[in-house]
């Protein structure tokens, strides 16, 4: 009886430790592609992924600034697809055509609100997290 009570507690505890550790590891991996000349916006964006799920959000990039967007995932053998649209859904960029390279610099001549989509492609779905770092160049 005691075992029945304990097992879920232990599993939940272990799972949460694992989840936190995964996010920490992801952050360290992402940070490798975030050189010192880029200043983070002060937030860390991460989300867990389900099959066929695409994460989408809007952000403002100010004119006369260069930004770096770095993506990474804990999904085994997964590749992060980074796609950037404007608010009229014109495609501005996708790393799908560039071997899913995890980091890109975006220079904005004028302020533009962008829709950023993040997806993970992998041969077999395994649960995991995806993380994004955004920073502007000093």
């Amino acid at each position: 009886m005691a075992k029945k009570i304990l097992i879920p507690f232990i599993l939940i505890g272990l799972f949460s430790v694992k989840a936190t550790a995964q996010v920490e590891n992801l952050r360290n991996t992402c940070a490798l592609n975030f050189p010192p000349e880029y200043v983070s916006d002060g937030q860390e964006y991460f989300a867990s992924l389900k099959p066929d799920q695409v994460i989408e959000f809007r952000t403002t990039f100010f004119g006369e600034n260069t930004y770096r967007i770095t993506t990474c995932t804990s999904v085994k053998k997964g590749q992060v697809v980074l796609t950037v649209y404007d608010t009229d859904k014109n495609l501005l960029f996708s790393n799908r055509d560039y071997d899913y390279s995890p980091y890109w610099n975006f220079r904005f001549t004028s302020t533009v609100i962008c829709i950023i989509q993040v997806d993970v492609v992998s041969q077999q779905f395994t649960p995991g997290y995806v993380m994004l770092l955004i920073g502007f160049k000093q």
Partner: protein, 299 residues
């Protein structure tokens, strides 16, 4: 006897779980250990964050623009560093941690390092009160001290600490505190921008003022899940929504142009343009509303 065994077994199991959690953060104080108990529920927080990413621009960007336009330093724009003692509730502590973060970016960009040290002390005290002392720890303050005359390094060190606290709060079911820090930072940088825009007809300042509409929408989205958490939250969100209504009167037009992709250097040049038309009325009314919100927060 059997019941006693069960209790011992159960309590031991709980200690095992908490012990494992604690192993991940070896430098925690007792105070933080108590808070760490909550981290058993870490996973649902992560799930909640799906599809709810609301980026807010860094205060360093706003202040950098102001400095580049040779607008003189104005100490009256800053919250007083010794006010931190007045902030008894975590709501105000978190907001003012964000406010002081924007203030310190202002001071660093204007090379006011002596004043910046006083603000760092206030930040340290607020972090202690919020249980963030393991992020803004002695290593952080040593790094700041070593780079006190290098504003680029300072920007990196300070924003990294704010990012770390954001991650820590999100993974420890304290996203509300993280959202308030971000809100305080945005409100203070908007306060700088609006106060400067009131007495300045510089196009870049006015444009940047008008371009805050979408970041404001993101900030409201970021805070909205906590609307019913307390009257403090609901009042703040209502006031921000009130500002957003005024932003609806600002005219935006957007023209798409094909971007240029330099794959070898991983650089994309976005050539699309946005025009913003801001009337004097909107500058006045939005500035007044932001000032009222900000002054209430720093009281």
């Amino acid at each position: 006897m059997l019941n006693f065994k069960r209790i011992v077994f159960f309590v031991s199991g709980c200690f095992l779980i908490f012990g494992l959690t604690e192993c991940n953060h070896p430098n925690k104080s007792d105070n933080q250990t108590i808070k760490e108990d909550v981290s058993i529920d870490t996973l649902p927080t992560l799930i909640k964050y799906e599809s709810s990413i609301f980026p807010i621009p860094s205060p360093w960007q706003v202040v950098g623009l102001v400095k580049n336009l040779s607008i003189p330093y104005n100490e009256n724009l800053l919250n007083r560093y010794d006010r931190y003692q007045k902030y008894g509730k975590s709501f105000k502590q978190a907001l003012n941690l964000g406010i002081y973060g924007a203030d310190i970016s202002y001071l660093c960009i204007y090379d006011r390092t002596q004043e910046a040290i006083k603000y760092l002390d206030a930040i340290r005290k607020l972090c202690d009160q919020l249980g963030l002392e393991q992020i803004f720890d002695q290593n952080f303050f040593d790094a700041v001290e070593q780079n006190i005359n290098n504003k680029d390094s300072l920007a990196r060190i300070i924003t990294k600490a704010y990012s770390s606290s954001d991650l820590y709060l999100k993974t420890n079911e304290r996203s509300d505190i993280g959202a308030l820090i971000v809100a305080g930072s945005w409100i203070e940088s908007m306060y700088f921008l609006t106060q400067i825009a009131l007495g300045n007809s510089n196009r870049d300042i006015i444009n940047r003022f008008g371009e805050q509409k979408h970041p404001l929408d993101n900030l409201i989205e970021l805070l909205t899940p906590y609307y019913y958490k307390s009257s403090d939250f609901s009042e703040l969100i209502d006031e921000l929504i009130n500002v957003a209504y005024e932003y609806d009167g600002i005219i935006y037009s957007y023209n798409y142009k094909e971007p240029i992709i330099d794959a070898a250097n991983r650089q994309i040049t976005i050539n699309s343009t946005t025009q913003v038309v801001v009337s004097e009325y909107h500058i006045r009314i939005i500035s007044s509303k932001i000032e009222s919100i900000r002054n209430k927060l720093v009281e």
